[in-house]
Amino acid sequence: MLDAKRLTILTESAKYDVSCSSSGSARKNSGGIGNASYGGICHSFTTDGRCISLLKILMTNKCAYDCLYCVNRRSNDVPRASATPDEICEVTMEFYKRNYIEGLFLSSAVEGNPDKTMELLLETVIKLRKVYGFNGYIHLKGIPGADKLLLDRAGSYVDRMSFNIELPSEKSLKMLAPQKSRKSIFLPMSNMATEYIMARKEKNYRFLPAGQTTQMIIGASPETDGQIIKLTEGLYDRFKLKRVYFSSYVPTNYKTSLLPTTPVGLLREHRLYQADWLLRFYGFKADELLSTDENFDLSVDPKCSWALKNMHLFPVEVNTAKPEMLLRVPGIGFKSASKIVAARKYSKLDFNDLLKMRVVLKRAVHFITCNGKFCGQEKLTAVKNIIALSERADTYEQISMFSTNDITFSVLGGEL
């Protein structure tokens, strides 16, 4: 059985992988133990405020590669450990039955070569499903460079797979992860996307029910936010990804002039997640938000900066605006928009009604009219200052809201 010491080593280095999400799969129980919940479930929250949903663990942290930004790189002097497939299965089952977790997030450093590593991962998930009868959620990290057949097979046992694109550009990848290349990461991603699309065409929903995701590190390399969200949009379009995760770079114990020595502010990560949200749910295009040489304004959220650049579209009339347009008003999220649309069937709404419905007007007031009445500031700079000020007060609480969990709380409670 896995002891506390190895568990610590194997989970400590897995924790920077931000994808905690356990959503997107509605796996039914079919005889064994467990199922998956479509909306995802958080089982606990760590002192850094992140949600624990999955047992995130590496098969091994012994790595043949030497990516500069990673704690597990070969040249780093850290304690090493490995687990056997049975040990992983056992601890997953026992945690799952006690309702500590929604499932397993299994990843691995590259021990020996990609094929060998992938084989071991595959053996583990097959065992977990077939021998241990586990029906809960599994997210498996794919090892780029492993045989396509191994990867495809894994796809029919797990709920979600991901290949990390690691860094937002080829150039940075070359510099910081010399053994990896854009192509070696995009190739399995695109193969997987093809399999996924084919499976859906044949009405096969058992192949990756929760699709494919990826992750990139922010702040270890010089790309702009504009480049990053453009890339993100491309990934959604090209590979039908379900999510793109961003992970702020945390300095590892290695001094090199190639890497920054201070961590990126969480605020930047937060702005990127807000922008990602706008791309996925609010119908925005990357080009509308930023051009590729720009970064997000940290003082106001991305929707707000978009609105400030597009004042000719505002103010919109709350009583008649289309729902899509309401969603584009700063400060109005899904919850408020749907309340407004429901309530305006009964009678015209004025500002007082909005307050009563607890629509937050702090930001919205500068962008809407109620029955033709406008109560906001007209001068652009004034609007921006007021919003930036109020924003400073809330950011603390909201921060990393978006990195914490998926649809569950953020869509329901997320006023963007």
Partner: protein, 267 residues
Amino acid sequence: MIAYKLPDDDDAIFCALFESFTARERPYMVFKGAFQLSFDCRVKTISVIPKNVERVKKGIIKCGGISLLSTIYYALRSQDELKETIIFNAIYKCLSERKNLLDNFKDPDMLALFDLKSKIGNETHRMKGFIRFEKTASGIWYSHFSPDNNIVDLVAPHFKERFPKEKFIIHDTRRNIFSVYNGKDILTFKSDQPITIYLDKEEIEFQGLWQTYFNSVNIKERKNTRLQDNSLPRRYRVNMSEFLAPLDNEILSPNNFNPVYLNDLIE
């Protein structure tokens, strides 16, 4: 001013509505138990008359369908001490306008009911994650929790679906209500008998591993307990092993359990 005092019965709310319509009066407060009322307030005690309950229920169904009726039962699970008044006010309006007005959110009465319901829904969802099971010596899984709202029977089906072959007991220690799954059906009942649980030997070990995991995934550099407190309120943590001292023996007495009784529960 008039207030209605209800007996401890879920159907009483319907009789309050009946009374209000027949007496053509609008109580400013509808409550159960003891309540601090203003001094110029007259209190009318409502009793449950099955015939009237049925009439009002029919009226409610006619005006807003079965869903309006089940909204009432659902909202009654709330722990809010004003819940009877909130439900009364919203349903009263629906009945007098003969329309289901529940999504007219600019009406404060509808919004109040909506909030009541969301709190119950949110807590039910959260508890699907926050509940912890412990393995007992007899192999039955036991969980104690103390939710704000009366939701144990809303949470239990989730675990029945997930663990169809395991037997389990979920114990609401605030109300002493148990939802018990015997491998076939879920039964929910109240029992104030003291209980003691004898845990399986492995339990100490796995709770220890879980605590290890919980601490090792934390990123120290990013401490944000305010966010943690919002997402996982402190009052829930008394039932969650990762926030407690390591287990040091195998006897658990959420309120003094008798081991024989545990097996009786499952039968």
